[in-house]
Every structure is written in C-alpha cells, then in structure tokens.
Amino acid sequence: MVNISIVGAGAISQEAYLPALEEIEQARLQYVVDLDEERAARLATEYGAVGHRANYLDALDETDAVIVATPPGSHADVSRACLESDVHVFTEKPVAVSSEVAAELVELATSRDRHFAISRQYRETPVCQLLTTMLESEALDDLAEFSITFGDETHWGFRSDYRMNRAAAGGGVLTDKGEHPLDVLLWLFGNEWELHRYCDDNYGGLEANASLELAFPAVGVNGTVEITGTRDLSNELVLRGNRSRLRGDPGGKELVLERSDTNEQTTIEATRSVPNSYLVRVGYQAKRFIDAVAGEEPTYVPAASGVEVRRLIETCYEQRQSMVHSWEQPGLERATEVS
C-alpha cells in the first residue's frame, strides 16, 4: 500500500486526482495539503484522508509519495523538499519553470533512488498511442510536415487566481497548455529540435496565443504549432507526407488517412475500449506512478522528459517575436514601450 498525499487541492486535484485515488487499489490517501486549510480539511473528509495540512512539509513523514498539483511556479520547491525527504514525486506539468532546475531535480531523484514522474495525459490518448505505433513501425515513411492547433477558451474551474500572476503561473498559454502538444511532438520525433520562429501576443504579462515553427532534423520533419487560450479552435494534429495526410484530434480516438492522389479517406480507429476523457487519462497516469512506487515495473512518464520540453519553451520565450493584430492597434498611437 502506498501512502500518498496530494499537495495542492485546486481544480485538477478535485476533478481528477482525488477521485482517481479512490479507484487505485494500492493507494491510501494520507494528507490533502493546501494553503486554503478549510478546503484541505473539507476534501480530506470527503475523500477519507488520514488528515489535512496547510504546509506540505508537515505531511512528509507519513507519506511515501506525493502528487504535486500546486501552481506551476511552486512545483520545483515542493518537489525538491519531497525528494530530499525521500518521498517519491508525481508532478503536474511543468517539472519546473526553469529547465536547469528541472534537470537538477531529476538528478536529485536519481541520487535518492526515488520515482519522479510527470503527468502527461495525452500519452494515454488512443490517437497519440496509435501515432507512436505507426511511426515505430515506419508506416509513415514519407512523413515531411506536421501541424498542430491546440487549446480552447480556457473555461476551466480555477480555484485560485494563480493564472493571472506570472510568478505563480510560470508563463502564459505556452507554459499552461503548450506543454501538451510539445511533449507529444518530442515523444513522436525525438529530442533533437530546432526552433525557427516563435511569436506570441504577450504585452508584458502572460501570452494568450502562441505560434511556433519547429523542425526535427534527425527525422527530417518540420512544421507549425499554434496554441490558444482564447479561441475555440478544433484541436488537430496533421502529419503530411508526399502521398498522404494523417489527421486527428490528439485527445481523440481516431485518425483519418487521406490520400493525396485520390482524396480517398480512411478512418483508423483505435480499438482500446477504455473511456477517453481527460480525467480518466490523468487518473491512469497517477496509477502508473503509484504502481511503480508499490514495486511494479515503471510505466509512467519520467520527469526527465519534461526537462527537454521546458528547454524548448524557454528557447521560445528567449526568441519571441510579437504577434500583432491589426484590430488591436487603434488608439495606441501613444503606446509606451513594452518589454
């Protein structure tokens, strides 16, 4: 039995992790930890935890493993304290706002022989699993280009206003939502990438829309990524080859293969019968981690993979260009310089 505590009792914990832990046989909920002690107490009672804490440091003695679900800006501090106390860590993305710190944490986990995992629910989706299978089997041997559009209008039940604060959020939509499609791309095409262009609509705060041009020279693929926190776009991943095009929702169950010469379409549906809601996928990720802590062969996504994603995001921010929309320009003749 794994004694597990949840650090950060916000929306994702309430909607995904706490319900998921009830279904994971090897998990015993120790503490619910949150700065909002009333919330922590309420949820601890509701989910039958041993207790609640306002400070995660007070929960570590009786905890084997934690789920870190605080705002991104605090992930590194929480994870470090837990690992130093020999507690296994499963963290929400990002591992840390800084890739350098993320790498240090990975090394710390290794030196302490602790499991250190990151939640990557898109790796559980039928479409993404199908794509990895197809790529590994070289079913798409003429693949040349990709494009991803990802995001939504951010109607999320935030339990705090961290998303309005740069220090707490660690970044805007590229950090908040961008980790998902970028991790999928690195998972599919490897860690050798080149950033050709990045632009966003940050005016000195937190970007809400971002656009990247990215290449993976080792596999000869390049393409674009568009991420939004304000538009209701269809989430779509498209892979283009010379003879065909493969497209689908990264979070979905089926891909459509379109032949360039005949326009013929074939729908390829994953045969997995498990539910495909994101809450279920998040729960699966947590289960993989808990099973590993309990002694089973690890199948979770190692936090080490998050280091490269974070490095890509940092590079984007370093090289950012402004995304300027004509309709936002009227009345800004006296605009001050924005860093």
């Binding site: 999320w156 935030f158 206003d161 609509d201 000195g204 937190l206 538009r231 209701d232 800004l332």
Partner: protein, 392 residues
C-alpha cells in the same frame, strides 16, 4: 485632469477588456483591473497586459477600499443581470466616496430609453426600458442619482446603444443569425445606432479626464449612419455563403410567434395522445408528456373524435407539418443544413424597425469626442478577427 491610477471593473468583459488594453498600452495612467473570474478568454486576454489584476467582486467593499487606496479614478464596466449590478454600483460608490475618488465613469446603455426610438434621442429623454437588461441598467443609474454618500464622486454616465467590434457578442450573434438564416423585421430599415469599440473607449477616457463631465450623461454613437440591413449584409459578406435574408413586417413576426406558441404548447400533448392511439410502445412517452402538460389533458379530451383525428394527422407525421415559414433553399451554401430562419427577439424587432437615431452632440461638444474608426474600417477589423478566431 489626468488620473494617476484607474480602477477598472468588469475588466474581463468586452468593453472593460478593451479599456484595459488601451489604458495599459496607449495611455499614461496606471491600471488596476478587477474581474470576477480568472477563467475564460476575457481573463486570458487581460492577463497579457502589464497591469495589476485582482479577481473579486464589486460587492466586496473591503476589497474595493483596499484597491481604491491607490487610485484616483474609476471606470465601472461591471455588470450582471440582477441585483448584483444595482448593489455593486452602490458598493462601488460608497467605496469611491470613502477614497475621495476624483473621477468616476459608469457604463450604462441607451436601452434605458427602450429599443424603439422615435426621432433623435437626446440624453434628457425619459427612461423607458422595455426589457430586463434595460431595467437593470436603469436601476444602476438610479442608484447613482440617489447616492448621497458624503464626498460623492458624481459619476459621468455613458450610454451606448450597439457596441460592435472584435470579441463582441453582438457580432458573433449576428454572424450565427446570418449563417443560419436571418429574418429582418421591416426589412431591417431601422438605424443600427452603432459605435465601434475603440470609439466608445475614446468617450470613456475623455469623460474620465474631463472635469466638466462629472455628473453628466453622454449618449455614445458613431457618426456613420448604418441600417440593420446593411449591417447584416456586411456580416454576410464576411461569410463565404449564407441563406438569403427573409424580410417580415412586425405584424407578420407577431402572428408567427403566436402560431409557434400555440404549436409548441399544444403539439406535445396532442402528439402524446396520438402516440397513445397509434403505437403501444409510445404510450409510456405519451403519458409522460401529458403529465408535463396537465392543463392540456381536459382540453384534448373535449375535442370531438373526428376533429381530434384530423388534428393528429396534421401534427403527427414526419414533423414538417405546421411549419409556419416556407423556407427557401440557400444560394448554394451549406446543403447539409437547412436554414433555420429563427424569428428575431422582440428587442431586435424594435431596433430593426426603428428609424430613430441617437445623438452624439453632447459627447462632441463637452468632451471633444471625434469618431476615430469609421464603420468600414470597423467591419474590416471584425472580419479579420472572426477569421483569426476560427469562426468562419
């Protein structure tokens, strides 16, 4: 007077969001932006700006007092249907009075005068709201008029009619109406009385800085005269294809709505009865339907047998009986979806048939306001935004 720091409420909304953008990036004032939720596209757009953001309610007096300690001006764009709006305005006034705020601009609406205008509307026209939204806007203004809170901030009140621009519900609503088949009351000859969002922001900022604006009310409208028909046509030209417009008189719309009400009230229980006599397996559904409309049970029982059968024939079948509008096929657009031609709500009927216009003389005379963005340019911006937003 140029304020040092402005408290902006409703900063996640359509108007508030643009006020925030303009002040943050184009003006000299510092900004504290208050919004009631950190979620949604408005909050995400606001978070792009180099401003102090607070998430909270205009009903939270303690919060307002804390925020106003560093401010000398307020722009109140917060609104919610219901007493929140009335009480929020009052709470804001009380906090402003306590903080000795020098400038207070309150966003109201010209619909406090109703949606149907005769002649030229001036600020002195009486209140005559004809829907719930107008009622709550009127109540907000009455709270201001009645306020006697010591060092009263004496708000300037801004009343636009139709505000249009990127991120605007009017625009996206019109887009969907045109896309699914627009019905124009009286052919849409009515005056739109529109103001482009940045032109409205100009009125707000001028009123905020002009000492003579205190306690005054300003209608806000662009110089361009545009009809509802033209507006819908321009929205239609942004779409690649759309069904042709239907033009109905106010009387025809009224009659069809009445017929629809009867159909929608009577058909379900009659269908239920029909189900009972035509198919065993439908009996359960039929009984459930009747249970939901108990008043129809005695009514249906009294209809003579032959009439009842003829009625059932008309309302039970392939579902196309009783359709009040003969739909025309589209001009080659979306063949997979028939036009809906939903009848416009009463407020649209009034506006689309109203030849009255809103005056902007006072805004010009007292504030020195001039229209910055012409209608054609405004619609160009709208088109570009709709394309970017993935709505086309």
């Amino acid at each position: 007077m140029v304020p040092t720091r402005v408290l902006l409420t409703g900063a996640g909304g359509f108007v508030g969001g643009r006020v925030a953008h303009r002040i943050a990036l184009g003006e000299t004032e510092e900004l504290t932006a208050l919004l009631h939720t950190p979620a949604g596209p408005g909050a995400m757009r606001l978070a792009r700006l180099p401003v102090d953001i607070e998430v909270g309610s205009v009903l939270d007096k303690e919060l307002l007092e804390r925020l106003l300690a560093d401010c000398d001006a307020i722009v109140n764009c917060a609104f919610g249907m219901g007493k929140t709006s009335e009480d929020g305005t009052r709470t804001l006034l009380e906090a402003a009075a306590a903080a000795d705020i020098e400038s207070f601009v309150h966003l109201s609406s010209a619909v406090v005068h109703g949606h149907h205008l005769d002649g030229t509307l001036h600020e002195s026209a009486p209140f005559a709201p004809d829907d719930e939204y107008g009622e709550w806007k009127r109540k907000g203004e009455e709270v201001i008029a009645a306020f006697e809170g010591g060092a009263a901030p004496d708000p300037a009140i801004i009343r636009p009619m139709i505000v249009y621009g990127p991120h605007d519900d009017w625009v996206t609503g019109a887009l969907e109406t045109v896309r699914t088949g627009a019905v124009l009351a009286e052919g849409g000859i009515g005056t739109l009385n529109q103001i482009y969002i940045d032109n409205l922001v100009d009125v707000i900022l001028l009123a905020m800085r002009e000492p003579a604006a205190k306690g005054e009310t300003f209608l806000a409208v662009d110089d361009d005269h545009v009809t509802w028909r033209q507006f819908y046509r321009d929205v239609g030209s942004i779409l690649a294809e759309h069904p042709p417009f239907q033009e109905l008189s106010r009387r025809e719309i009224r009659l069809r709505k009445r017929a629809n009400t009867v159909r929608d009230s009577v058909v379900p229980p009659v269908k239920a009865v029909g189900g009972m006599v035509t198919a065993d397996e439908a009996q359960e559904n039929a009984v459930a339907e009747l249970a939901r409309t108990p008043w129809a049970v005695p009514l249906v029982k009294q209809v003579p047998q032959p009439v009842r059968e003829r009625l059932l024939d008309r309302v039970i079948g392939d579902g196309s009986n009783g359709q009040p509008v003969k739909l025309e096929r589209t001009n080659g657009s979306d063949k997979s979806r028939s036009p809906q031609y939903e009848l416009p709500e009463e407020r649209f009927v009034r506006m689309q048939s109203s030849l009255g216009s809103v005056s902007n003389e006072k805004s010009k005379d007292l504030l020195g306001w001039e229209q910055r963005v012409a209608y054609e340019k405004g619609m160009e911006y709208v088109g570009k935004w709709l394309a970017y937003d993935g709505r086309l």
